[in-house]
């Protein structure tokens, strides 16, 4: 307690130096907290944009459909699965889909197309489907209407009101073909998939492909990105004995996931840079104060103060300064990260990632963005403080109290 008192008061002795050091620690802290908040915010934002746009956080398929898609690998009891999903917490929405490939024609133009059968309301809830329609509107019921991807519409020179013909092979081996009226054009942000996108009402699609009551995929949206892993486990438990495969986005969007992970590695470099800033700032100050106060430490020792106590005294000074600098750092970091998580930052140059364009980025306020800098800064300060503290503890009063 006595050492703590002296340490505390010592901090206010060299005001300018203390402020300089505090600013170094504070600056390092805020920089780290902001960078982590920014990185986490951006990744969450990008991952959410990516998954919520079409893929979903978790997908459910029949067996190995994902690796070897086949029109026959269907979820046939999907009403039961749906009921279970509706009963679960943390599931924001889910949407069923049916897929098939075929040929789409208008007048004398034909091109390959990817049929996706959807339930308009569910699909809209899960992937904000309506917002992606740039022309016309979404079909509401199964009345032979279709929404085309922008690229596909351009290839066929199709417009809202035109009738297109889709040809494929149905599940029973028969020829599947029918005429559908274009009711909307869609732009998803992923131009590759828009070149093939041919959306029908799920029921129309099931009729066409002779897959009554069956689907190929359920895309699930979880209420928070951080719960995806937990929910994946839960869904796996729930559907173990039904030949269903449950996969999170990290698995069905592997290359995207690995790109994200590689980007996040960059954060460690940043933390090391911050450690260096803090280390230099703290070492300089503490060493200077220890050298200046040689006589004081000598006096304390002459009076019977133990080396350990002097060691503590110096480390207390480092810790008190670090503590208050971090406290201020935490306050500013939370304010900054919170503010930019609401308002976002408009990027000078929009960039594309995973086929999507980003113009705004958002930070996030999370425990990590406070805890990681806190540990880094304290760890650095204490490590760096040990050397001067040992020096002070080893003080030889017979020498330091000499006046010549």
């Amino acid at each position: 307690m006595l050492m703590f008192k002296i340490a505390f008061r010592n901090i206010f002795r060299q005001k300018r130096r203390t402020i300089f050091t505090a600013l170094t620690i504070f600056g390092g802290f805020v920089l780290a907290a902001f960078s982590i908040g920014w990185a986490d915010g951006s990744y969450t934002f990008i991952i959410n944009m990516f998954t919520r746009n079409r893929l979903g956080h978790i997908q459910i398929h029949y067996k190995d459909y994902l690796n070897q898609p086949s029109i026959y690998k269907t979820i046939s009891n999907y009403e039961e699965v749906a009921e279970k999903l509706d009963d679960m917490d943390h599931i924001e929405s889910w949407t069923p889909r049916l897929f098939a490939a075929g040929l789409l024609s208008l007048h004398d133009q034909s091109t390959g197309a990817q049929l996706t059968g959807i339930q308009p309301e569910k699909e809209n809830q899960a992937t904000r489907f309506r917002q992606k329609i740039i022309k016309g509107e979404l079909f509401e019921k199964a009345d032979h209407k279709t929404v085309l991807g922008k690229g596909l519409a351009r290839v066929l020179q199709a417009n809202v009101g035109d009738s297109v013909v889709f040809i494929s092979q149905a599940a029973d081996g028969s020829m599947a073909n029918d005429i559908y009226e274009v009711c909307g054009i869609l732009e998803s942000g992923d131009s590759m998939s828009d070149r093939m996108a041919f959306y029908l009402h799920l029921q129309d699609a099931q009729d066409l492909m002779v897959l009554y009551g069956q689907i190929h995929e359920i895309a699930v949206i979880v209420d928070e990105l951080g719960r995806v892993d937990m929910m994946t486990d839960r869904l796996r438990d729930a559907f173990t004995n039904e030949d269903l495969t449950v996969e999170p986005w990290q698995e069905f969007a592997k290359s995207f996931y690995h790109a994200m992970k590689a980007d996040m590695e960059g954060m460690w470099i940043m933390l090391i840079v911050i450690m260096l800033i803090v280390a230099v700032g703290v070492l300089n100050t503490v060493l200077m104060s220890v050298l200046e106060r040689t006589r004081e430490y000598g006096l304390l020792k002459a009076m019977g103060t133990k080396p350990v106590q002097i060691f503590k005294l110096v480390l207390y000074q480092v810790n008190i300064l670090t503590f208050f600098s971090c406290l201020l750092g935490i306050a500013l970091s939370i304010i900054l990260n919170y503010w930019l998580s609401k308002d976002g930052i408009t990027l000078p140059n929009a960039f594309t990632y995973g086929g999507m364009e980003f113009k705004h980025m958002y930070t996030t306020v999370n425990l990590r963005s406070i805890l990681l800098p806190l540990i880094t800064v304290f760890f650095t300060a204490v490590i760096v403080g040990i050397f001067p503290a040992i020096r002070a503890a080893k003080n030889d009063p017979a020498q330091s109290m000499r006046t010549h």
């Binding site: 004081e296 006096l299 019977g304 103060t305 017979a398 109290m401 006046t403």
Partner: protein
């Protein structure tokens, strides 16, 4: 042993420093006995070995050779840890300057050793107040050292050295940083306390006016006792 208690006894104490490989005999074989209640000055020109000798007596420095007893204990054989506690409990230090911790108040400076000794709070406070009265600094307990004059700072140092009732007060040129009038006043006060509390004082000086106030003079020359004179 006679009825007067021996506080310090040294036997052929030597301290040899090495200055770039050359031996410097700072203290070169001193035999000295200091008894209870004495008010002794160690005198000698600069470089004669005063500081070194006092440091060896207090155990701040280790003798190269010879033996030192303090209050009957052979301190020249003690380990550093033992010595640190022994010093705290038996010796009060007054240095030429930088005696006080500038961030602590007068009271906090004086009670420092008692805090290390775990003396209860009330007793600490009472003893600080009593000793402040003795050194004529009543009412200064909440001041910080930078706001005291040089003479006042040395008086606080005396109070700090005496408050835990050590067997010996060691003062290395306590007046060297003061003007001669303040120095003389300080010495008179030390002498008064020496008599009032029956405390043993051993101090060094090279100032004639200060030596005149000592009751015994030990004159050093080149690390040896040149003359040992007891005054009436």
């Amino acid at each position: 042993m006679s009825d007067t208690m021996t506080v310090i006894k040294t036997e052929n104490v030597k301290k040899i420093y090495s200055d770039n490989g050359l031996p410097v005999k700072a203290v070169n074989g001193i035999d000295l006995t200091i008894n209870e209640k004495e008010f002794t000055a160690i005198v000698g020109p600069s470089g004669s070995g005063k500081t070194t000798f006092l440091n060896v007596i207090s155990g701040l420095d280790k003798a190269t050779e010879g033996k030192v007893w303090l209050n009957g204990k052979l301190i020249s054989e003690m380990s550093g840890k033992e010595l640190s506690d022994f010093r705290r409990d038996n010796i009060g230090f007054i240095f030429q300057a930088y005696n006080l911790i500038p961030v602590l108040t007068v009271e906090e400076n004086i009670e420092y050793i008692m805090l290390l000794q775990n003396v209860p709070k009330e007793e600490r406070h009472q003893r600080v107040m009593d000793i402040l009265e003795d050194v004529g600094l009543k009412g200064f307990e909440d001041r910080k050292p930078p706001r005291l004059s040089g003479g006042q700072q040395q008086r606080v140092a005396i109070a700090r050295a005496m408050v835990s009732k050590p067997v010996l007060i060691l003062a290395d040129e306590p007046t060297a940083n003061l003007d001669s009038e303040t120095g003389a006043e300080l010495l008179d006060m030390m002498r008064e306390l020496n008599q009032k509390h029956s405390m043993t004082f051993l101090f060094s000086t090279h100032d004639q006016m200060i030596m005149d106030r000592a009751t015994r003079l030990v004159i050093l020359k080149d690390g040896q006792v040149d003359e040992d004179r007891v005054k009436s």
